[in-house]
């Protein structure tokens, strides 16, 4: 039971008590008036009696000497009292000797003839006594107080009592109202509580529905993603499988063997760039940020861009005077620019521009944007542009406007992932028929000089044979790497777990360790740290497809080689690691 209801219960008996009290007050008033009236009547009788006694005394002599005139004179003295209605003085023998009637009627001549007093009159009698002898009788009728005077006398008192009763009664009425209001309040509170419960239920249901919607959207996106990957991967795998099948045929000419091998290499490369873009979108690609001068980067890409755009379109670069430097992954930035450029090319091809298509690449200093100084690129085309619906979705993975098979739908999502991961952002401005401008903003690092562009890798890393410990939990990859390195003339020992590798390294001498990062039990980074403590002179190279640990915490300064890697890249990475470790 709520407090409000309990309170109502307690007050329920109150109005009854109050009305009872009002009644009691009224009764008390009536009683007081009745008692007062009785007292007053008695007083009136006493008063009248003493009047009669006075008259009896004053008329005694007149009666004694049988002097009606004197008796009448004594009677007349009472005429001034307006309340005296009738006076009659009788002799001993009962005959009247004097009298007075206010109405003017004659006084009864004998006691016997005397009539009963009128209503509202008090009759008193007093014997006339002389020397112990009764010589006559005085009768006197006096007005009981008139109703009007009595009412006026009690009016104030009655008024007070009625007022008190009214006050109490109105209090009772107010109480009743309050009780009703309380009851209403209680019912409203209850209704409110019910409404609240209903609302909470609805909110819960809505949250559930939203959860389900989100989940289904997620599933939809996942389906789109996996479907896209599967499609593109299958294309590449088809080439690889087919080429491998062809290679395993006996008696293949040298020229064909090389062609199939190159087809495999190309397809694998395509597949690798696919996964790389996927990872870029997922913002999980290991970036190797370095300080870059955007103007110089664009200048270096001149040839590449011209080739990408083809013969029909011009590339115009507008470089800012002294743009701030950025610290980003060079390869990813180039990849992003090429992705944007190839989209621009397709947009301009869609429009019959008769060679008027121009791609403008500007480097810009955007100044302070949300507390950070930003620089970056604006890449504008005068292609067909896009609708708002398209513009809103262009960064979604696998979203493409191109016919099936022509676009992966991953280009701009790579740009988006790269920008986000590098602390910048990318926006698109476009209208149908008015071209598109993609703006890529990156945080400015205006200190130091741009890192030197790495020299083109040494033609081939012919390294001295070394003892290499390969740590790889995937048997196929492990066997492949072993074959590869053995082919290069190295002595290879394999371990499939970190703990096993640590044990092997303690008992045998190795020149270098090549370890996968993600493994059950002890991972590559843990292994590298342990080895660094025990054998600081032993270099470690980490290999990874992607690793959350490296993305978030870095590799601790250790060289990292990204899967999938080419033979030359692997060889170079190992040689470089051993060289720098010695130095």
């Amino acid at each position: 039971m709520t407090p409000v209801v309990r309170m109502t219960m307690r007050w329920r008996t109150a109005p009854l008590a109050i009305f009872g009290l009002a009644l009691l007050i009224l009764l008390a008033g009536i009683a007081v008036i009745a008692i007062n009236e009785g007292t007053y009547d008695r007083g009136r009788v006493d008063q009248s009696q003493s009047l009669a006694d006075v008259l009896a005394a004053s008329a005694a002599a007149a009666v004694d000497f049988d002097d009606p005139a004197a008796a009448q004179q004594a009677v007349e003295a009472f005429r001034v009292n307006g309340q005296v209605r009738m006076i009659a003085v009788y002799r001993r023998d009962g005959t009247a000797i004097g009298g007075y009637d206010r109405s003017g009627a004659p006084v009864a001549s004998t006691i016997v003839a005397l009539q009963a007093p009128q209503e509202n009159a008090i009759r008193v009698q007093s014997p006339i006594v002389q020397a112990g002898q009764r010589i006559g009788t005085v009768y006197m009728d006096i007005d009981r107080e008139s109703a009007a005077r009595r009412i006026s006398r009690y009016a104030l008192l009655a008024g007070l009592f009625v007022l008190a009763a009214l006050v109490v009664a109105s209090l009772g009425l107010a109480q009743t109202q309050l009780r009703r209001a309380n009851r209403e309040l209680a019912s409203r509170a209850e209704a409110l509580t019910q409404a609240n419960v209903l609302l909470e239920e609805q909110i819960e249901e809505r949250a559930k529905a939203e959860d389900q919607l989100r989940q289904s959207q997620k599933m939809q996106a996942l389906g789109q993603l996996t479907g896209g990957i599967a499609h593109d991967f299958n294309n590449q795998l088809t080439v690889i499988q087919g080429s491998a099948d062809m290679l395993s045929r006996p008696g293949l000419s040298e020229e064909k063997r090389i062609r199939f091998a190159q087809a495999i290499v190309q397809s694998a490369s395509n597949a690798a760039s696919l996964t790389s873009q996927l990872l870029a979108f997922a913002r999980r690609q290991p970036l190797k940020p370095q300080r870059l001068d955007l103007n110089r980067l664009i200048a270096d890409m001149d040839e590449l861009l011209n080739r990408t755009m083809g013969e029909r379109f011009r590339v115009v670069t507008e470089l800012a005077e002294r743009p701030c430097r950025v610290e980003v992954d060079r390869a990813q930035l180039q990849s992003a620019i090429l992705n944007i450029a190839s989209n621009a090319r397709d947009a301009m091809q869609g429009r019959d521009t008769l060679g008027s298509g121009t791609l403008i690449i500007r480097t810009r200093d955007f100044g302070e944007v949300e507390g950070k100084r930003m620089v970056g690129l604006e890449i504008a085309d005068n292609g067909e542009g896009m609708s708002q619906e398209v513009r809103e979705r262009i960064f979604e993975p696998f979203f493409t406007t191109k016919p099936t098979g022509e676009g992966t739908g991953l280009g701009l999502s790579q740009v988006y992932g790269f920008a986000s991961q590098s602390g910048g952002e990318v926006t698109a401005a476009s209208e149908p028929g008015n071209g598109t401008t993609i703006t890529l903003m990156l945080p400015c690092i205006d200190s130091g000089h741009a890192d030197p562009v790495p020299a083109v890798a040494a033609a081939s890393a012919e390294t001295a044979p070394a003892a290499i410990l390969v740590v790889e939990d995937n048997v196929d990859v492990g066997a492949f790497v072993e074959t590869l390195l053995t082919e290069l003339g190295h002595k290879v020992t394999r371990a499939d777990r970190g703990e096993q590798a640590l044990e092997l390294a303690r008992r045998n001498h190795f020149d270098i360790v090549l370890s996968d990062v993600v493994m059950p039990g002890m991972g590559g980074i843990k292994l590298a740290e342990a080895l660094e403590r025990e054998q600081p002179s032993l270099p470690v190279v980490l290999a990874t497809g992607y690793s959350q640990d490296i993305v978030e915490g870095g590799s601790g300064g250790r060289p990292v080689i990204l899967k999938p890697y080419r033979l030359a890249a692997l060889s170079e990475a190992l040689a470089e690691a051993m060289r720098s470790h010695r130095g």
Partner: protein, 177 residues
């Protein structure tokens, strides 16, 4: 003039009363006889003039007695301060010392005026009757409007040391202060 007429009326009334047949109404004489003992209640005598011990109150009729047995009857029914009232008949003022009330009837030897003078300033309530002459005692009966009334000489009463109740004075036809 008025007095003469009143006197005439009195005389006439007396003549009628004496000569007329007995009526239901009490005669004037009977009324006077009834009045005489009653005066005692409205008069205060000096203590020295009151009867000693349990002696009766004395009402004297000096000279002629017009009342006969009526006065005795009236006196018998009255008391004064618990004393009975004795009626005495005197021929002269001699022996009037014992009287508290004296009705002066007058006689052939001593007319009323003479008897009054003889009583002098003794503390006696003297009562005269206009029927017997014009001489007035302290109380003087007269017929007024056919009824027995009386005059009171309050000054004379005071001279004799008597105090008369105002109630009695109120009943008098006239009071000489």
């Amino acid at each position: 003039m008025r007095r003469a007429r009143a006197l005439l009326l009195c005389l006439m009334g007396a003549a009628l009363g004496l000569t007329g047949p007995a009526a239901a109404e009490p005669t004037d004489t009977a009324v006077k006889a009834a009045f005489l003992p009653r005066f005692a209640r409205y008069v205060t005598w000096p203590a020295s003039a009151m009867p000693k011990g349990s002696d009766p109150f004395v009402l004297c009729v000096i000279g002629a007695d017009p009342f006969g047995g009526q006065l005795d009857a009236a006196a018998r029914s009255q008391t004064v301060d618990g004393r009975r009232i004795a009626v005495r008949h005197l021929d002269s003022a001699t022996g009037a010392d014992q009287c508290q009330i004296a009705f002066i009837g007058g006689s052939r030897n001593q007319p009323a005026g003479q008897l009054l003078s003889a009583l002098g300033h003794k503390p006696v309530l003297t009562v005269t009757d206009s029927a017997n002459g014009a001489q007035r005692g302290i109380i003087h009966f007269a017929l007024v409007g056919g009824r027995v009334r009386f005059f009171i000489d309050e000054a004379a009463a005071e001279q004799r040391g008597l105090s008369i109740s105002s109630r009695l004075l109120a009943l008098a036809v006239g009071v000489r202060a």
